[in-house]
Symmetry: C2
Subunit: 326 residues, 2 copies
Amino acid sequence: MKILVTGAAGFIGSNLVDALLLENHTVVGIDNLSTGRPEFLNLASKHPNFDFKQLDILNRAALSEVLDSSFDCVCHLAANADVRRGIEAPFRDLEQNTIATWNVLEAMRDSGVKHIVFTSTGSVYGEAEVIPTPENAPFPVQTSLYGASKLACEALISAYCEGYNMRGTVYRFVSFVGDRYTHGHIYDFVRQLLRSPDELRILGDGSQRKSYIHVSDGVAAIAAVLRHPSPKKYEVFNLGTSEYVTVNDSIAEICAEMGVCPERLYSGGSRGWVGDNPFIYLDCSRIRQHLDHIWAPKIGILDGVRMTVRYLLTNKHLFDAAGSVQ
Amino acid sequence: MKILVTGAAGFIGSNLVDALLLENHTVVGIDNLSTGRPEFLNLASKHPNFDFKQLDILNRAALSEVLDSSFDCVCHLAANADVRRGIEAPFRDLEQNTIATWNVLEAMRDSGVKHIVFTSTGSVYGEAEVIPTPENAPFPVQTSLYGASKLACEALISAYCEGYNMRGTVYRFVSFVGDRYTHGHIYDFVRQLLRSPDELRILGDGSQRKSYIHVSDGVAAIAAVLRHPSPKKYEVFNLGTSEYVTVNDSIAEICAEMGVCPERLYSGGSRGWVGDNPFIYLDCSRIRQHLDHIWAPKIGILDGVRMTVRYLLTNKHLFDAAGSVQ
């Protein structure tokens, strides 16, 4: 297949590009490089079936120049992924997620590309009433602008599938960890501990439960579904593992890997930031059944945390740039 | 209370303005008059507690000039309501519904106005699996750009309520009928029959089931909830009646009222247009319980259809303007 990947220089995007190239797809990656990193595509760039264009998907003319009818699929990963800063800059979620996704859909409609793969988030379940949360959970109430903007994307995609006879495959993710991880609590904690190994500031009380999936498992699932598509025109898959840990469990793993034993300074009560959800834990039986005997997550959560810490410690230049909070 | 009503010159907006003035609220109505009609505000304009400003809510500066901290509430009704033309002009739904609602929320945040009342739609349930459909139905799949854009609005509103400590009251409507109705199947059928009483073209096979509520009942519910608010920061109410009819039932009523007996020409299969839903029928027990002994719909569906036909026949100038399809 010939596949366009948006957000190709990002954490998940670049891993997906590598996975797709390994399966002999032809891949064009695009990224505005606002948070993506060109070096994440170093491996891909050596591959004859890969091409990269720097462009912003908010620029529809530029997007339409790249996307022509020779593509079989668009994997749309470009997004504002900073869940926590939503309330400081609400337009960012609306523009970079919702309006950008609309742009991608319009460019696909113009060029006749029929299949979109979209990376949504478990945040769309808000404060889920059912845990683990299945795809057909009760109609959710959004608690973050990030979740709201991603839900709006999902809604647009499903309406386009219905209205323009397109196909949509939507993944609602738990958080990803692994190589090229540059954003989130492990990054924040490792950065803090590199600066001051005796003290760790933690938003929330550490009891927040979180479920993570290793990026290699996540992109393998997406690649497998491309080989074994759903018979449905519009399909939603939760994507995560059947495990969860607390932030404190994760901290213990990080500290052990770094060989430090900091004083833990908690703040902010039982949840870290407005709109944070104390527990995103997804029922992933739908994708497990769909990919029965083909795919299952291979890396456990704490192994994933440890591998991520090692990755960060061997790529300390990632801490030189601004971009993460906490 | 001092209330801003957007879309004030529209069908539902102008009826809501009249109902709020009757309850001694101070009302400022705004409308860009793209589809709203100034004459719908003739009654309101005689009231000392009413003021009207023509402005487009996509113009945030103009909106922010009107909306100051003296307002208690914004009833946000302005929208692109043409469900059927979504696939012809998808940006209209995104811009006039989603981006416009974001503008209203930002203007409220700037001015410190804390309560938004929003008119959503039963279309957000897509092809509902549970009928009658309750507010906490399974996570829906959008089948129209209109529904998608309204779901995006709901998501934004709930995220703003969580992030900025605002209050939101969202109504998911069935279709409204009654005085000032200018848009929808009764309008289309009456217009056709005035031109050619012997023939009626019908999208779909006429068996589509529909539930309507009379606009006087609908706006009375909204006004009653303003007097008796939900204790929840963010509340969603379905708003409809416990009845439904088929399009054919409705046609029979229209024809009887007009004294015509046309040949019926059906086209388009079992549903009228791409994205049409064969049956939007809402479980309205939540609002009935909330307003127990205070409010219940008074006008049955076919009575509502007949009253709407009479209204249109005594206001034939409404057919002079373009704007409706079918």
